[in-house]
């Protein structure tokens, strides 16, 4: 107790809150994942592996692969769009930068439900892009573009774009522009400067953004249900369906634990890779 300071006491508040209401629920989830489903209630206390065994059935395996594929594709696309966009935005005058930051923050804060709903209308036959294309004569027989895999991906991109852009913002806004200017003065084309000078500097940030988005998209619920077809639904939709729809909490918990382990492995690999890169 010799080194105990008042700051330690203050630290007990965030520590207690996070342990109780963040780690606590995760621990409960792990415990419940071994329980038995009670058809008349939520669950019975037990210790069974059945819930985990179900994961290895072809149904859950297919959905897992599908979730990984759609999340990975969404993550790569969103970073491919957000990175150059933010590079251009950070070179704008302060007034325009503020406009973009407010736009991005608004999007980041807006509900997935509202964004999904907006795209639902935009892709619908009666009000959006199909109607417009029909009106200008580019589409003879306009039909609704959602639900579809592409519509779901558009939803993912709208959802993640602001987050990725704001993640890049501090590093890009404060970057040392003299290196780019020097390369340009020496006659290098802007495209070449971007590829050879800018991109390598952001390697770690880009990988970090792709992984963050991948993990985030794995856990998204509204976009797949609103914009995707049932065959596009990811593991999150199935977990919610099992836990709330079928009141099978133990199975929902077991599937979440598997997703948690998968996420931890990815984060661990990212941290290991970043550390190795820093050391070399």
């Amino acid at each position: 107790m010799r080194h105990f300071k008042p700051a330690h006491l203050i630290g007990m508040y965030p520590l207690g809150m996070m342990c109780l209401f963040f780690l606590g629920p995760l621990a409960f989830m792990i415990v419940v994942s071994f329980y038995e489903r009670d058809p008349l209630g939520f669950y019975n206390v037990a210790f069974v592996w059945d819930n985990y065994a179900k994961f290895f059935s072809s149904f859950y395996y297919t959905i897992s692969m599908r979730s990984i594929w759609s999340s990975a594709l969404g993550a790569v696309l969103v970073v491919l769009l957000a990175f150059p966009a933010m590079f251009i935005i950070t070179d704008m005058v302060r007034r325009w930068q503020l406009f973009w930051i407010i736009l991005l923050l608004s999007l980041m804060c807006l509900s997935e439900v509202i964004l999904g709903f907006a795209w639902l209308i935009l892709l619908s036959e009666s009000s959006g892009i199909p109607k417009f294309l029909g009106w200008v004569g580019l589409w003879d027989d306009p039909r609704s573009l959602s639900p579809s895999f592409a519509a779901m991906l558009i939803g993912f991109i709208t959802l993640g774009f602001s987050l990725v852009a704001l993640m890049f913002y501090p590093q890009m806004a404060q970057r040392d522009r003299s290196i780019e200017e020097a390369a340009r003065t020496l006659g290098t084309s802007p495209a070449r400067v971007f590829i050879k000078v800018v991109l390598p500097n952001y390697r770690t940030a880009i990988i970090g953004a792709v992984v963050t988005m991948f993990v985030y998209f794995l856990g998204v619920f509204v976009m797949p249900t609103m914009l995707g077809r049932p065959q596009d639904w990811n593991m999150t939709v199935i977990i919610t369906d099992k836990a709330v729809g079928d009141a099978n909490m133990p199975l929902g918990a077991a599937l979440s634990v598997i997703m948690l382990l998968f996420t931890l492995v990815i984060i661990g690999a990212l941290m290991f890779g970043t550390r190795k890169e820093r050391q070399s």
């Binding site: 203050i10 520590l15 809150m17 996070m18 963040f22 606590g24 439900v113 509202i114 935009l122 593991m235």
Partner: protein, 263 residues
């Protein structure tokens, strides 16, 4: 990049981000009962229904109440964690800070599922307090990161001067540290509040239909046959979000707070 290409690209992105709102805005002021765009006849009838019928007023009230309290909880945790990290600069402070980053690293469904089981287990499933605490704890990452910028900008000289003049640690915090980190705390508060207002999955998994928030109401409406009131609700909350951010940009240096310039 070529200037024309750059402009074209950025305009395309802006269109993709703004267009959905324009369409929803158009639908929300269309007098027609079917959801369609462009509007044939203008009317504010859907907004009137939104702000007068209890079907919509109760979810709005629930969402706002949860957001106000959850954001306060979140900022208090973030402030304490940052203070400890700044004061101790030790493993303990780093551990508390890392715990606060945790929720942001996990897919939202894991957080929602854990919360659902937890609140069911302690008998508080479906209670508004459960949603408030869950939002307050799970959105802590945002104010944590933003307030850490405020602490990073604190000059040791100012604190040292306050101490030399005989101020107690509490007085130093109240008179020196807190006023300097306040703009960061306000930004963190506003962001958590608007994210909480708009959050769906955790609210749904923690309270089901017992505490209906606006996103839950909108989602159910969209899923099970919808009216243009949904568009007016979406628009009202989009405007609320943008309004709060505009006010924030007027009273604080938003670009600096988000790390756009060196402190």
């Amino acid at each position: 990049m070529n200037t024309v290409l750059k402009r074209g690209f950025i305009w395309l992105i802006a269109a993709g981000l703004i267009l959905p709102f324009l369409i929803v805005a158009g639908v929300s002021i269309n007098a027609n009962s079917n959801i369609s765009f462009p509007p044939t006849e203008l009317s504010l009838r859907w907004y009137t229904i939104l702000f007068t019928e209890s079907d919509w007023l109760i979810p709005i009230r629930n969402s706002l109440m949860i957001a106000v309290v959850a954001a306060f909880l979140s900022v208090s945790i973030a402030l304490a964690a940052n203070y400890v990290l700044w004061r101790l600069k030790s493993g303990f402070g780093k551990f508390v800070f890392a715990l606060g980053i945790g929720p942001f690293m996990l897919p939202p469904i894991i957080i929602a599922m854990g919360a659902s089981v937890f609140w069911a287990e302690i008998g508080m499933y479906g209670r508004v307090e459960a949603t408030i605490i869950s939002h307050g704890v799970f959105f802590v990452t945002l104010p944590l990161v933003i307030i850490s910028r405020g602490f990073a900008a604190l000059s040791d000289d100012v604190v040292e001067a306050s101490r030399t003049m005989g101020a107690t640690p509490w007085q130093t915090f109240k008179k020196v540290i807190f006023p300097l980190v306040l703009p960061y705390a306000i930004t963190g508060y506003a962001l958590v509040a608007i994210i909480s207002v708009n959050e769906y999955l955790i609210s749904y998994m923690v309270s089901g239909f017992a505490v209906e928030t606006l996103p839950i109401r909108i989602f159910n409406n969209v899923r099970y046959g919808y009216t243009p009131v949904v568009a007016s609700a979406a628009m009202a909350f989009a405007l609320f979000t943008i309004g709060v951010l505009l006010v924030l940009s007027m009273i604080t240096d938003l670009l600096k707070l988000l790390g756009g310039s060196r402190d």
